[in-house]
Symmetry: C2
Subunit: 119 residues, 2 copies
DNA sequence: GTCGAAGTTCGACGGTTACCGTACCAAAAG
DNA sequence: CTTTTGGTACGGTAACCGTCGAACTTCGAC
């Protein structure tokens, strides 16, 4: 879908703070893999390499998920040599949708502890 | 998809409180139509007839959206004559995912006022 | 009993998504 | 320079999603 950002889709910064759309964020965080990525990103609080996430999908699929998260404004990325570093846009998200990211990630953490390996 | 509720899929109550899954709720609320329904349901605070919502989709589509919301545990429904009444499961949602529904609907309300008739 | 209103079910269609493997590229290591 | 490593781009596929219209059901009104 069209994202209202004025910059190129290859830009690693994603949409501007005011361009972040709720439906896009909700959709980005409605996938278990992406939810897990966001959660891991929050716990470490820092930038992280793409390959350092515990996910059960192939590399190209992971690239896809990172793009969805980035274009929704959930994360931003930065190139560092051969590594691509991702960071959660907690501040922007919180400015635009106060409490949302926190509630979602807390809910995820709770469900994760409640059902560790949900069958 | 399989919902872990023990009852029939035609049950208008939806999943039990502890069966509500975060990803399902997020997905249910990632659609503008459903988000609008949930928002209207919250503002009125009461039960509401299916046909009384201001949405730009046909009847059968509306039925589909209500089912998604119900099976995710966002709303529950009740038959009253020919009318089907829907109610937001605020209490269950809040017990399972504290602050989530509130943050989402507040975010939606904010975006709605910020861009009244988003073209 | 008949008609209309409120919703559901069914089938279909077009667009999107999640996934994969392969090929590719750029930077670092040898 | 060659190889390895980290990751993207490009198809391609199968499933899903949002939408619709038409047919059906059920209740209430006449």
């Amino acid at each position: 879908m069209e994202c209202a950002v004025s910059e190129d889709a290859h830009d690693l910064r994603g949409p501007g703070r005011d361009e972040i759309e709720l439906a896009a964020v909700m959709h980005a965080l409605s996938d278990p893999v992406r939810l897990g990525i966001a959660a891991e990103l929050r716990t470490c609080g820092e930038e992280r390499r793409c390959g350092s996430f515990e996910v059960a999908v192939g590399k190209s699929t992971l690239t896809h998920h990172f793009r969805v998260l980035r274009e929704a404004g959930v994360i931003c990325q930065r190139q560092d040599g051969t590594a691509r570093l991702s960071r959660l846009r907690s501040d922007d998200l919180d400015a635009r949708f106060p409490g949302l990211l926190d509630a979602v990630l807390r809910a995820h953490a709770d469900s994760a502890t409640a059902r560790p390996a949900a069958a």
